[in-house]
Each structure stands twice: as C-alpha cells, then as structure tokens.
C-alpha cells in the first residue's frame, strides 16, 4: 500500500500478523499440566510506516493467556514496541523501541524471537553515524524490555567500526580487507543496600574485534571483558568476566571449510542482577554447535553456559561433481561437522579463605574441564532422479544432562541419530515428502522412532501426519506415541493452518517454511499474514 493523495506522497504502510491459538486436552500420560482456561492464545500485529527518510512502526501483542511453554509473565495485551526513526546518508536517529547488535553480540544484543517468546528490545534512543567513508559509529541508551514491562537497569553503549580499505584510497583495491571494531557497554542498577553484599551499581564491559579477508580466506576474532558483576546467575561472586570468539574459513567453488572456537568465563550480563533464564540479558553468547531442524537431532540440544565453557567446531562442505562414481548423474553434497564443548578447568575456592569472593580460579586458561556437549555428524544431500531428492544425516551426540538441564543426579546421555528426508515429485504441483528418524540411546528415555509424511498440492495446500514413538523406554507404560496431524492452506502471503495432536517445542519445517513452535497438546490454529 502507498498513501497517495492527488500527487502528494503520504508514504507506505506494511505489516505482518501472526496468531497461534491452542485448545488443550487434559493428558496425564505426558505429564501435561492442567490448563483451567482450556485455551491459550499468542498473537501480534506489526505495522511499519515509511515516507522518504522517515519511518515509524509499532507492534500490538496479545497473550490471553500465553501458550503453554511460554513464560507466564507474558500476560495481557498492549503496544510494547513502537518507534520513530529518521535516516539520512550520514545519520540515523531512532526513538522508542529498537533491536541492536555490537559485533557478535558478546557485550550487547537486543533481539527478538517471537516463536520462542524471547524479546529484550531496548527502549530509549539510538543514534547511528556514518561521518566519513569507512567509519561507522552507533550509540544506544535505554531500558530493556522484560515481558510486558521494562527492567530496572539503564543500558548505555557505544560501538565503532573502521573499514581500512574504505577509509584509505590507497587500500581500496588491495586484496586484503581489514575491519577493526570495538564497543563499550555499561549498565546502571541502584544497590538497594538490602542484600548481603555491597555490589557495583555501574558495570562496564568492552569488546574489540578484527576481521581480515583475503580472497578465499576469512578470519574473525572478538574478545570481550566485563568488570566484576555479582549477580544471581553467578552466585554473587566478584570475578571479572571474559569471552573470546574466533573463526576462520576457507572456501572455493565446490569446497568450504570453517573452524571456530570460543571461551566464555563468567560472562552472564543482565540489566537486573537478580534476573535469570531469558530475562533482561544484555549480551548474546552464541552456541558453537550445529543447529538442526529435525526433531530427533534436537532432542538433546546444546545451550551456552554463560557462566563458563570452552569449545570448538569444525565444518567441511564438499560438492561431488556430476558424472563421477560417487556423484552419479546429478552430483551430491557432503557436509561433515564436529563440535565439542566443555566446562572450564577451574579450582573452586574455599569460601573461608576467598575474602575477595572470586568464587573460583582458572587452573589453565585454555584447559578443558568436564564435557558438556559433543556432536559428530555427517550429511549427504543427493538428487536421485529428476523426481526424487534425498537428505541423509547421521549424528553421534554426547549430552551432559546434569549441566545442560541442571539436574545434578542425572548422567551423561550418548545418542546415535539417523535421519532420512525424501521428496518425490509426481508432477509440477504434486509432491510427497517422508521424514524418517531414529534415535538410539541406552540412557534416559531410551530409543525413539519418528516418521512424518507430507503431501503437497502446490502452491496452495499441504497435509502432514507424524508420529514419534518412545518404543525403547525401559518402562513399558511410558512407551508413548506423539501423534500429530496438520492441514495448511496458503494464499499469496497468507497462511492458515490447523494441527491436532502432541508436538514437542522446536523449529519445524513443514509446509515449505521453518518456524519455531511451542510444545502443544490438543488443537492448534495458526494464522500468518504479511502485507
């Protein structure tokens, strides 16, 4: 849409809408909690208005009440996101709500994932400057969103980046590109004086980063440091925090390789020292393990331990040419990935002698402690004929349940997972897809088998049915089936979907699109629109 009135440009309005409604079945077999109101509903509408250098937007959100699996602090309705922004070549000013990231996010990342119920938007002011070629500066000042309200701490930050090849004319056509960046973030939260310790009211963190690119090689490194920041999540210790994130990659046509590593030491950073879980996080410490969308592969998922961990990841992709022995008539793609994450190698300090309350000391800086997570996986994508495509994945995963789920009595789970995703196209509009998965483990709930059939009548209709069966559970009464059926109708950019059954939370790629979905048990209605 564009607003036009006898030749005067009044700007454009666009937006998107999403609603998920669930009717819950009472179910004791999967230990689903009773839902007295019987239904839950999450919905939102985004509107963005633009006119020349000016833009404005808002999002209305409703949680009546929030779907099961979402934080119950999402309650009620309201406009919690709204902004006005002015953009020119050298300056951008935003007032209201905004999302922002400095570097990799090690000291600041405000972002949202509506499907996960994650939103730590900043509310205040942002200025972006591009004063000279190759120089980029950003400043933010605001409060953080906490569910339906805002947190108590003020967040202030500045970030600068210099691209040397853009800055100096002599370097413009050089093969090697160098970009240097750095940022500083500080939070303020008053010390009410009611706690057991005297805590710093202002906590500063800074980071510097370097990116070097030459031809087929790309190297990136970022290091962040935070002063002592006693908080609920670190057990109110006064140790400073650190994070290091490096990656290197080489790629050419048909071949790619990347290696990345990270070390995180007491780097949980929030605008409220008493907050926990997904609430009021200022920074983002990414996982360095492969991200999957098949459910058995995410059964035992990795999650970053902000208090401390060390790990690395290596990944290789290779395209096998057409007409070779392995490639066959259409060629094939192979991906091999390995990732491992451990705790830091530390000494816990005796509280009696730890007068500075540092909590622990590092035995060796790059030492690996107890293993948290490991994944070796191999994937082959192959076109078998003009009509048929196959994706096959094998993965061997190690999962430290005690650490990753915080259940001290539990052991480590070793699992082997196999996935086959087969698509067969009958005609230009009719196709069928099978997803067959198997998870084998001796620990926890034992083995699972999972199957999905999806029938698509392009471009408008799709029907899918799936079952996950915990057939290997040691307890015969717990060998449960998780049935699910979905019908979807797509018209232009509108999508209507009805599902019935039980489904675990995660990213699901059904109906030609990937979405993060909450756990469900019962009837789910979904409406998605973009306009």
């Amino acid at each position: 849409m564009i607003a036009q009135n006898s030749g005067t440009n009044l700007g454009e309005i666009h937006g998107n809408f999403q609603m998920d409604m669930q009717y819950y079945n009472p179910d004791s077999t999967i230990k689903a909690p009773p839902v007295p109101e019987k239904t839950g509903m999450n919905g939102f509408l985004n509107l963005n208005y633009t006119r020349d250098k000016f833009s404005a937007g808002l999002r209305y959100e409703s949680y009546l009440s929030a779907l099961q699996g979402f934080d119950p602090r999402y309650k009620g309705s309201g406009i919690l996101y709204r902004y006005v922004s002015y953009t020119s070549d050298e300056l951008q000013v935003t007032v209201g709500s905004f999302y922002e990231q400095f570097g990799n996010g090690l000291i600041l990342r405000a972002y949202e994932d509506r499907g996960l119920g994650y939103d730590n938007a900043l509310e205040g002011l942002r200025v972006k400057l591009h004063p000279y070629k190759g120089i980029y500066i950003k400043g933010v000042y605001g409060l953080q969103r906490s569910f339906m309200t805002y947190g108590p701490g003020t967040v202030r930050g500045v970030d600068a980046e210099i691209n040397f090849n853009e800055l100096f004319e002599k370097l413009t056509n050089k093969k090697t590109n160098v970009i240097l960046g750095g940022g500083f973030v500080s939070k303020f939260q008053a010390d009410a004086g009611t706690g057991a310790y005297i805590v710093p009211q202002n906590v500063g963190a800074w980071a510097e980063r370097l990116n070097i690119h030459r031809g087929k090689v790309n190297i990136q490194a970022e290091y962040a440091y935070k002063i002592n920041d006693p908080s609920f999540t670190n057990g109110y210790i006064y140790k400073p925090g650190e994070a290091l994130f490096v990656s290197a990659s080489y790629s050419q046509k048909g071949f790619g390789f990347s290696l990345s590593g990270k070390r995180i030491d007491n780097m949980d950073f929030r605008s409220d020292r008493s907050a926990s879980l997904n609430n009021l996080e200022i920074n983002y410490l990414p996982c360095l393990t492969r991200q999957y969308t098949y459910s058995m592969l995410t059964f035992y998922p990795d999650a970053t331990q902000n208090t401390g961990e060390i790990g690395y990841q290596a990944e290789m992709t290779y395209k096998i040419k057409k007409g070779t022995l392995l490639g066959g008539e259409y060629g094939a793609n192979v991906l091999i990935n390995f990732a491992t994450v451990s705790g830091l190698d530390t000494n816990r300090l005796n509280p009696a002698s730890d007068s500075a309350r540092k909590g622990y000391s590092n035995k060796s800086y790059f030492g690996f402690g107890q293993k948290y997570f490991e994944d070796f996986n191999i994937e082959i994508d192959k076109k078998l004929s003009q009509h048929c495509k196959l994706i096959a994945i094998y993965s061997y995963q190690t999962y430290n349940k005690a650490v990753l789920q915080g259940e001290p009595s539990d052991h480590t789970i070793y699992s082997q997972i196999g996935v086959a995703d087969i698509v067969y196209r009958f005609t230009d509009t009719l196709s069928i897809r099978f997803e067959l998965e198997h998870l084998y483990t001796k620990q926890d709930m034992g083995a699972w088998a999972s199957g999905l059939v999806e029938f698509t009548v392009a471009p408008k209709w799709f029907v899918a049915a799936s079952d996950q069966w915990n057939y290997g559970n040691a307890d015969p009464t717990a060998r449960i089936h998780y049935y699910n059926g979905t019908i979807g109708y797509i018209r232009k950019t509108n999508r209507y979907q009805i599902s019935y059954g039980k489904q675990r939370a995660g990213i699901y790629c059904v109906g030609g699109v990937c979405r993060t979905v909450p756990a469900s048990n019962g009837l789910t209605l979904t409406l998605i629109s973009s306009f």
């Binding site: 849409m1 564009i2 607003a3 036009q4 009135n5 009044l10 454009e12 309005i13 666009h14 998107n16 963005n48 208005y49 633009t50 833009s55 404005a56 808002l58 709204r82 006005v84 209201g96 990231q101 990799n104 996010g105 990342r109 972006k128 691209n163 590109n177 690119h213 087929k216 790309n218 990136q220 990659s249 790629s251 048909g254 071949f255 790619g256 390789f257 990347s258 990345s260 983002y284 990414p286 360095l288 991200q291 969308t293 994508d381 495509k389 698509v423 196209r425 196709s431 897809r433 698509t456 471009p459 797509i490 232009k492 950019t493 109906g511 030609g512 699109v513 990937c514 979405r515 973009s530």
Partner: protein, 170 residues
C-alpha cells in the same frame, strides 16, 4: 507521554489508510557482506533488470532446497532475464561464519548478505524463512512468496520473464 507517543503513531497510520494500492520498496537497512563489510539495502540495484531478494538460513531445509534448485539453472536465468539474486541470510553469530563456506561450497552465483539481527527481516515484515521477493526495474516489490514447494522455481522464472519484459504481475 507514552500515550501521546502511541496516539501520534496511530494518527500517522490513519493517514496511511486513505491509500491507493502501489507496490512497496525495500527500506534502507544496514547489513553485512560475507567478508564483513557494511552494506546498506539502498545499494540493491540491477540497472533496471529484475531483482530477487530471498531470505534464508543455513538451518532452513526448504530455503536451501529453493536456492540450490535455482542455482542449477541460474546461468540460463541470467541470460533470459538479466536477474540478480540477493540471498539474505538471517543466521545469527552462531552460524554466520559458516555462511561463506556453505555458499561457496554450493557454488551459488548470488550476492549473499548477512542480516545477523534480523533487521531487514523485520523491516520487510517477513514472518518465517524462506520468503522471496521480486523487484521490478523501478525497485518496487511486484511479487512475493513465503514458502517453498518442490518445483516452485518454474513459477519464479515465469514471473521474472514477465518483469524483464516490463509486464504487470497479477
């Protein structure tokens, strides 16, 4: 204060509702290229020929199927329509360093951009990936599609041929 702010916004939108149908343009948003350089979407250009903007992620199976499907015959597409394809990855810093090896490994001849904090995704009202837009000579969005079905590449090529000839898209 908050109420006044919200009220102003609502008035702005009310102004826009007296609207005539006319296509949308791509809003100016800061992204990065695969080698880490700053890139603003106002520089999305193709000398009056059609442009495709496709949102994807390394973890999104349907997205990769779509872009690999197009890639098989992309040389022909360029010859026939002069199209330029911008593949906007919404991978965040967990996966963004793996984008270049994947893209080069697949041999994609696309311009790949990184939208690590989903700023462009938000500005273009994209709910989920994949989401594909077609832009005409004037840089206006004339067609969009937010899912992938097997063989839908043929439909996209048909649209691009029409756009290249300057025909209207219904």
């Amino acid at each position: 204060m908050k109420k006044i702010f919200s009220l102003c916004l609502i008035l702005l939108f009310a102004g826009g509702i007296y609207a005539q149908q006319k296509p949308q343009k791509v809003p100016p948003v800061d992204l990065k290229t695969m080698d880490g350089k700053a890139f603003n979407t106002k520089d999305i250009k193709n000398d009056g020929k059609p442009i495709v903007i496709s949102f994807w992620a390394t973890w999104c199976g349907p997205c990769k199927k779509e872009l690999n499907g197009i890639s098989e015959n992309f040389d022909d597409w360029v010859k026939q329509t002069g199209v330029k394809l911008y593949a906007v990855s919404i991978d965040d810093s967990r996966n963004s360093s793996k984008v270049a090896p994947y893209v080069n490994g697949q041999g994609w001849d696309y311009t790949v951009l990184l939208d690590e904090n989903s700023d462009l995704k938000r500005a273009m009202n994209v709910n989920n990936v994949p989401h594909t837009f077609v832009l005409n000579a004037a840089g206006e969005i004339v067609w969009q599609n937010n899912n992938y079905t097997e063989g839908s590449e043929a439909k996209l090529l048909e649209i691009l041929k029409k756009v290249a000839k300057g025909e209207k898209i219904e």
